[in-house]
Amino acid sequence: MSETIRDSHARRYRILGDALAVAVYLFLLAPILVTIPMAFGSTNALSFPPTSYSLDLFRIFFSSPSWLEPLFQSIEVALGATMVVMLTGVPAGYWIARHEFVGKALITGIIMSPIVIPTVVTGLGLYLYFSYLRINSTTLSLVLGHVAYTLPYVILMIMAGVHKLDRNLEFGAELMGAGLIRMFLTVVVPQLVPSLVSAALFAFLLSFDEVIISWFLTGSNTVTLPVRMFSALEWEVSPVIAAVSTFLTAVSLVVCIVAIRLKKWTPVDA
């Protein structure tokens, strides 16, 4: 005897729904499913599935300066942007979450605006502003541009983390005599560790993958990996891009896995 009652009508709908869903999942994963095998293909053909397998494309990627230099530039920019955005965004997010001040709605609106403003607009604005400051085409301008771009996401994540904390802990610490900075470092920061780590990871990945703002801000000496890839795709589609794509996907995958694991992780049981 079956445990559940069979309803052939409902079952037919379920099977149809499952089939459609599988098709959409396949469509979503298609880019990854195509690029990864190709990355292990041969160096002279863009065919799928590859006729022979090798690590040649990765060897080209990791040995040619025209790809390696953008890779290091991207790492440098992403690390710098993550550092600056955390140093600014964490205290700012805490302050916005916990305090009322004059013009709060306006100020948070301005800080959050890069989320809704089309990225091209932000990119052009940063380009014009940095031209005015005469720091265009420098690594600094890229770092600052990425900070402006990632800041709202970091602040939102920190605010969400702070809202989950018990306000009495902070007030209690203050009553017991702790100053603001001491309280922040000993009470707020330790409890926020999961939010801090995921915000930093997210900021790093956003910056590392960012194309549009970098497209406006890079000079010939500060080309980032995504910009290098974008201009490569604009002109010729070479097989080595499959290896670069696989590398970018692997970075995303690592960040994705860490972020999912972090959700289950709490500072208390660690």
Binding site: D166, N168, L169, A173, M176, G177, R182, Q191, V268, D269
Partner: protein, 366 residues
């Protein structure tokens, strides 16, 4: 005032509120209020939610600033002083322990903030944990403790730095009934031993009656009555107080020339009370447990305030049984009697006779 060899000598402090009030936008959370708490006193702020007791507590702690008025600690104005400089301790309803610190580190926190030497911290924290019966729990994380144990940590963290005033915001609110009563005893003992001035917030009247030197009963952002538990229970000064604390039969009547009060045409005798003149409308209270209940032909002559009636409901609530009687003169009166077996309780519809002594009639007000 009392001494502890480790936690140090406690000099009890006073706190006084002068015309303090608080508005949130256009809503008045607390009307202008005067209140002073004596040295070593255990004062309870009691009241329903929204009565202003938490606002009052937050004003004293410095979590919010007052709209008008001043707060004096030992006569010194601390109205605008930031919380960390006030030297006040607080025990929170949800414990507010740092989840990332051990019990020891939690209790040591206020001492570390004060840059006390490691040796002193070790000694004081151990003494404070001893006091609350948590010797040997120092290495645990708060989450590994029961609710009662967590609140003991909260109390230890508060007494360890000898704050001038200890405030407790419904500290037992999250505990179940038995544990709550046990903890009430422990907090009372600690207060007796340490002699610190305590301001305690609760909405549980039994807790307030049991623990307090004085109770400040709040309602609608104002003090409804301030006094000892006895005063609030036996001499309530308004309908709100009479109804909020304990159960009560409330009647409205009129003062007679000879000190009697006429209620619904029945002559009731109240104790001598010269506050009101003849003809004044007054509100009168009789506590149900002071109403004697007997057979319809019971009670010898000479009893005052005798009424006949019919039982309309009985409820068995443990040690006591509540009996509601509709008197022949139309009054609904509830009486409480010590519970016996089912057969000894009056049946529904039974004819009974009620009486109470004139000294149990309290004139609440007019």
């Amino acid at each position: 005032m009392s001494d502890d060899p480790v936690l140090g000598s406690r000099i009890a402090h006073t706190i006084a509120l002068k015309g303090i009030s608080k508005m949130f936008g256009s809503v008045t959370a607390l009307h202008a209020t005067d209140l002073s708490v004596e040295k070593g006193e255990f004062l309870t702020l009691l009241g329903p939610s929204g009565s202003g007791k938490t606002t009052l507590l937050n004003l004293i702690a410095g979590a919010i600033g007052p709209t008008t008025g001043a707060i004096l600690l030992d006569g010194r104005d601390i109205t605008t002083m930031p919380p960390r400089e006030r030297g006040i301790g607080m025990v929170f309803q949800n414990y507010a322990l740092m989840p990332h610190m051990t019990v020891f580190e939690n209790v040591a926190y206020p001492l570390r903030v004060r840059r006390e030497p490691a040796k002193t911290i070790q000694v004081k924290v151990t003494a404070a944990l001893d006091r609350v019966g948590l010797r040997g729990f120092g290495d645990r994380k708060p989450r590994q403790l029961s609710g009662g144990q967590q609140q003991r940590v909260g109390i230890a963290r508060c007494i360890v730095y000898s704050p001038a005033i200890i405030m407790m915001d419904e500290p037992l609110g999250a505990l179940d009934k038995n544990l709550r009563e046990q903890m009430q005893g422990e907090i009372k003992r600690l207060h007796r031993e340490l002699g610190t001035t305590v301001i305690y917030v609760t909405h549980d009247q039994e807790e307030a009656l049991n623990m307090s030197d004085r109770i400040c009963l709040m309602n609608g952002g104002q003090i409804a009555q301030l006094g000892t538990p006895d005063e609030l229970y036996f001499r309530p000064r308004s309908r709100f107080v009479a109804e909020f604390i304990g159960e009560s039969n409330l009647f409205s009547g009129r003062m007679n020339s000879d000190g009697r009060i006429v209620i619904a045409e029945a002559q009731l005798i109240a104790g001598p009370d010269n506050r009101w003149t003849e003809g004044t409308e007054v509100l009168v209270m009789v506590r149900p447990e002071r109403v004697k209940i007997g057979h319809a032909d019971g009670f010898a002559k000479g009893h005052t305030n005798v009424l006949n009636g019919e039982v309309t409901s009985t409820s068995f609530i443990g040690g006591m049984t509540r009996v509601t009687v509709k008197a022949d003169n139309g009054l609904n009166i509830s009486a409480k009697m010590v519970s016996g077996h089912a057969e000894t309780r009056p049946e529904l519809g039974a004819r009974v006779r009620l009486c109470w002594s004139s000294s149990d009639v309290v004139v609440v007000g007019n």
